[in-house]
Symmetry: C2
Subunit: 313 residues, 2 copies
Amino acid sequence: MTKYAFGVDIGGTTVKLGLFDQDGNILDKWEIPTVKENGGEKILPDVAESILEKMKEKCIAKNKVAGVGIGAPGAVDDDGYMCNGAVNLGWKPLNVREIMEDILGVPVKANNDANVAAFGEMWQGGGKGYRNLVAVTLGTGVGGGIIVNGQILTGANGAGGEIGHIHIEDHEPEACGCKKKGCLEQYASATGIVRLAKRRLAEDDKASVLRDGEVSAKTVFDAVKAGDEVAIEIAERFGEYLGKGLAAIANVVNPEVFVIGGGVSKAGEILLQYVKPSFAKYVFTPCANVTFALAQLGNDAGIVGAAGLILGR
Amino acid sequence: MTKYAFGVDIGGTTVKLGLFDQDGNILDKWEIPTVKENGGEKILPDVAESILEKMKEKCIAKNKVAGVGIGAPGAVDDDGYMCNGAVNLGWKPLNVREIMEDILGVPVKANNDANVAAFGEMWQGGGKGYRNLVAVTLGTGVGGGIIVNGQILTGANGAGGEIGHIHIEDHEPEACGCKKKGCLEQYASATGIVRLAKRRLAEDDKASVLRDGEVSAKTVFDAVKAGDEVAIEIAERFGEYLGKGLAAIANVVNPEVFVIGGGVSKAGEILLQYVKPSFAKYVFTPCANVTFALAQLGNDAGIVGAAGLILGR
C-alpha cells in the first residue's frame, strides 16, 4: 500500500506544509498564516486542520498516512517537548508531538527547524549520500543542524547545533542578540557581513562600489565577483571567521560534509572560496577531510526534512 | 549463563587488560608491555594471547565470553578500522576488530581510547546516569570523548571529540604539537599550565611559592589552595581558556555533563571553580545547563569503557 507523509515547517509568519509520497517526492505544497495571538494557541490546531483538509481533498485515508514531521523554531527534545516554548510563536512550554498526535491520530515527530532542515539536506539535498553532516544556515542569524550517523544530534535540551553563538572573537565591542560578545553570528550572518562591510568602509577612503547605495550580503558578494578590492577584503574577513568557527565544529563532531545554506549562500561557490583557506588554517588535521557543499533545497528544506523524520533513514 | 567480557586499553608503554562480569564488575586486571618493534606487529597477538591465557586460568570457555572491547590511541571508525594507523604504536593502517576476531573467535569492538574512556565514565564513573556527556582529559595533552544519546560520537574518520585542538587564542606565538597555533591544549593541558605559569612568572617579580622549585600543574594548584596570588592568576587564565573551549563544545553538542579527568584533574573540585565562570561567560544560554563532574575511574577508565563497549547500553 502506498503511504504518504506530511512535512510541516512552522515559521514566525507562515507555516509551510508539504505532502510527500513514500519515496520523498513532493506531491503538493502550500502555506497557511501563523496566527500568533493568545500565545499562539491556534497554530497547531490550524496545522492539523489544514492537513485533515488536504487528506480529504486528495482522498487519503488516515491509515495511508505514515506520519507527520514538524520543524519548530526553538529547542525540541527527542520526545517533541519544547521546554522553553518558542519565543517567535508566543508559545509557552508544550509538547508538539503529543498535541498533534491527539488531534490527528497519526504518528508525529518534531524537532528544531534548523535540525530538520539539515536532515532534509542530507535526505534529498546538498548532503545526499552522507551520514555525518553539519548544515550551516547563513541568514539573518547563523543556525546549524548536525547529523551524526544519519541521526539528528538533538542535544540534552534540544539545543544541539547552536553554532551561531560559538565565541570566535575576543575583541568585539558590540553585543550579539544573545547578549554575549564575539559570536560567530556577529560576522557570518547577513547582518554580520553588513557590519564587517561598514567597519571596513570606515577604515579609509579606498574606492569601492560599496560606497554607493545600500550595503548587503548580496551587494558585497556581487562586488567581490566584479573584482572590487574592498569587497574582497570584507569577504576575506567573513571567511576568516566562518572558517574558524567551522574548524571548531569539525574538531568536535568530525563531519564528512558542511552544507552551507540560507540567504547569504545565494552568493554561490565563491563564498566557499573564502571559507576553505581559513578552515584549513584552524582545523585539526585528522578532521580536515571535509567536503563543502551548497544547500540545494532552499525554502523547501524544512518541509522535506520534516517529512524525512517520518520517511528517511 | 554468566557471561564475561574483556576490556583492553592499548597505550604506548603498556597494555592494560581487565576481566569483567556481565554487571561490569572488575574481576581481575593486569598489564602487559607494549612491544612496538617491527611496526608494532606483536601488540595485538600479545593481547590476544594474554586474553586466552586468562580464560584458561579462570576456566572461562569461549562461549562464555560476550566479547572483547578495545581502546586504541588513534582514530578508529565504527568498523574498527584505523585509517591513519597509530603513530605511538608504530601501526600502519589496520582493522583492529578484524584482526582480533580472527585470532580470538569472539565478538570484538574497538574505538579511540579517549572515546572509550568517556564511555567508561558514563557507564560506571563520574557521568553515571547521563546519556549526553563530554569527557575531557587534561593530561600531557587535552583529549576528549563525546557521548550522544548513550552512543560514542565516533565521527566520519574516527576523529570526533578531538577537542584539544580547538583554536582558542588568536595571539599565540608558539606552535602546538599539531603545528597550529592557539589550540586549547596549549593552555589547558599539564604542559599548557606550566607554560601559562612560566609566562605569568616572567611578567613581574611578585612573590610566589612557584618561584622556588619546579613548576607543574600540581604545584600550581597546590599553591592556589594555599592562597598564592600569582598561582590564582594562573588558574584564572587556565580557567578562562578551558571554559571558553568547553562553551564552544556545549554550543555544538549540548551535553548534560562535562566529566573532567586526567592528571590535571587531581587538583579536585577547585579546578572546576576556575572553569565554570568562564564557561558561563561564553556559552549560549540554551546550552548553559550543564553539570561539571570529576572523572572517577582514573587509570581504569580505559578498560572499563572498553568492556562497556560490549556490556554497556
